[in-house]
Amino acid sequence: MELSGIAAYLVSFFTFVGIYGILALGLNMQWGFTGQFNIGIAGFFAVGAYTSAILTTPESPWHLGGFGQPFLVGVLGAVIVSALVGLLIGWITARLRTDYLAIATIGIAETLRLIIANESWLTNGVRGMSGIDRPFSDFFQALGLSSAMGSLIVVAAFLAGVYFLVERARQSPWGRVLRAIRENEPATEAAGKNIGRFRLEAFVVGSAIMGLGGALYAHYFGFLSPEAFLPLYGTFLVWVMLIAGGSGNNLGALVGAVVIWTIWSGSEFVMSASLPEGYGGYAGPLRVILIGVLLQVILIARPEGLLPERAPQAIATTRRERARQQ
C-alpha cells in the first residue's frame, strides 16, 4: 500500500475508533457506573444516525424530509430524539432489573431496526439513505484538508467533549450515587436516594451519547441502511470494547475501543490474506468467533479489564489533608 493509502486507512481507522469510543462511553454510564444491562445499543445508535440524516439531507421523495438543516442541527436533533427514546424505554423498564432490562432493550433495538427496514416512507427502508454530507467539508477544504480528515477532527472534538462530561459525571456526587446503586440498591435507597430517578437519568444520558455516536457515524459514512445496525456491529462490539477496556473506567472504555477495533478491522486483512481460495465466505463468521473467544479470555484472565475501575480522585481536599501536605 502506498503512503497516501495508509494515511487514508488511518483516518478511517481512527474515525471509527472515535465513534465506537463515544458508544462505549455511553454504555459505561449505563453499565459501568449504574449496572444497567443495555444490549440494545444498536437501537439508539440507529435512532441518532437516522434522525441526523433526515434532518440534514436535502428534500427527497424517498424518505421523510430531508429538511436540509446544517450538521450541528442534525447532531442536536439526534441527541434529543435518542434521549427521548431512552426516556420512554427507561420509563417503561424502570422497575426491571439487569437481566430483564437486557431482554427488553434487545427487543426494542430489534423492533427499531425492523421499523427502519420496513417503514420506507420514513427511512427509505432496506434501500437505505444516501447523500449525507460530511461535517463542515467546505471549511476543511479551505484549510486544504480532505472531508474524511475533517470528519476525524469533528469526531475527535466530540469524543473529547463527551469524555470530559462523562468523566466529570463519574467524579461527581451524581456518579457516586450511580455506583452505589450498582453496588447495592437497598442500601442506596436507605441512604435517601430516589434510585428510580438516578437510574432513569443515567439511562437517558447514556442513550443520548449513543445517539450522538450514531449521528457522527451517519455523517462520516454518508450512507445508512438497516444492515449497519445489526446487533453484532452496533451492540456486541461495544460491549466487548467496554469489558476489555475496563467497565467503570472511562479511559478503559477508550482503550478498549482502540484495542478491539484494531483486532476487529485487522482480522479482516489477516483473514482475507490467509484463508484458502473459495473459503472467503467464512471470513465474517470467523472474525466474530475470534472476538467471542477473545472476550472469554479477557473475562477469565482480566475480569476487570485492561484498566480496572478505580475510585475517582477526590474533587476537594479537607483542611486536614491540606495541613498534612504542608
Binding site: 466529570r168 459525571a169 461527581s172 430516589n194 477526590a314 476537594a316
Partner: protein
Amino acid sequence: MIRIERVSKAFGGLQAVRDVSLEVAPGSITGLIGPNGAGKSTLFNIVAGLLRPDRGRIYLDGKDITGRRPYELFHLGLVRTFQIPHELARMTVRENLMVVPPGQAGENLLQSWFLWRRVRRQERDIREKVDDVLDFLSIDHLADERAANLSGGQKKLLDLGRTMMTDARAVLLDEPGAGVNRTLLAHISEAIQRLNRERGYTFCLIEHDMDLIARLCDPVYVMTNGALIASGPMSEIRANEEVREAYFGGGGARMGQAQ
C-alpha cells in the same frame, strides 16, 4: 417518636406479624428481642418502608408514614441498618459515607457539569464530616480501603457510620452485634450509647446478644410467633415467666449468664 399501631403482616399462610403495637420514645434506646422467626425483622422492614403492612399504621412524630418508600423516610429522619451489612463493596469506606448526606448539589448532573465550584465546596464539607465520623468510630485508617475488604465487624461499624452522616433522629439497627467479636462489640455499643447521649439519636434495635440488650436498652419488647408478649425494662423481662418459656425454653440459662 415511632409509634406502631396494631400492625399485621402475612406471607401466604404464614402470619409473620400479628397485631403488634409498640412505641419508641424519643431519646430512648428501645430493644426488640425474640427467637429466630419471631417477626422482628419483618416488623423492622415494615417500619423502614420495605414492606407494606396488611393492617395497622406507623407514625413518626405523630405523622402517618405507613407505606412510605425508604428514601422518603430517610428525608423524614428515619434511617436503618441491615442485619447483613449492606456495604457498597467496590467503593472505598470514605465513598460509602460520602454518598449518604442529603441535599448534595452535585447529585444533580447539570450542577455537576456546570457548577463545579459549588459542587467542590460542598464536597469539601462532606469530606470533613466523613473525617469526623471515621475518627468517632476509630476507623480512620480504613478510609481509602475498599469496603469489600473490611471484616464483618468493621462493616457493622461502617453501617453505623452511614447513619451518622445524616441528620437522622431515629435509627433502626438490625442486629448491630451479629458476628462481631467482643472487642469490636464493646466499641459498637459505646458508639451507640454516645450517639444517644451526646447527639440525641433515638435507637430501636433488634439484637440476640442479651449482654448488649441489657447494657443499652430500656425498654425492651419481646416478640414470639409474630406477637408481642412482654415489654418493660430488662430486669422485668428477665423475671417474666412467659418470656422465659417462649424464648429460652424455660431454662433461662443464657439469661443467668447474661447477669
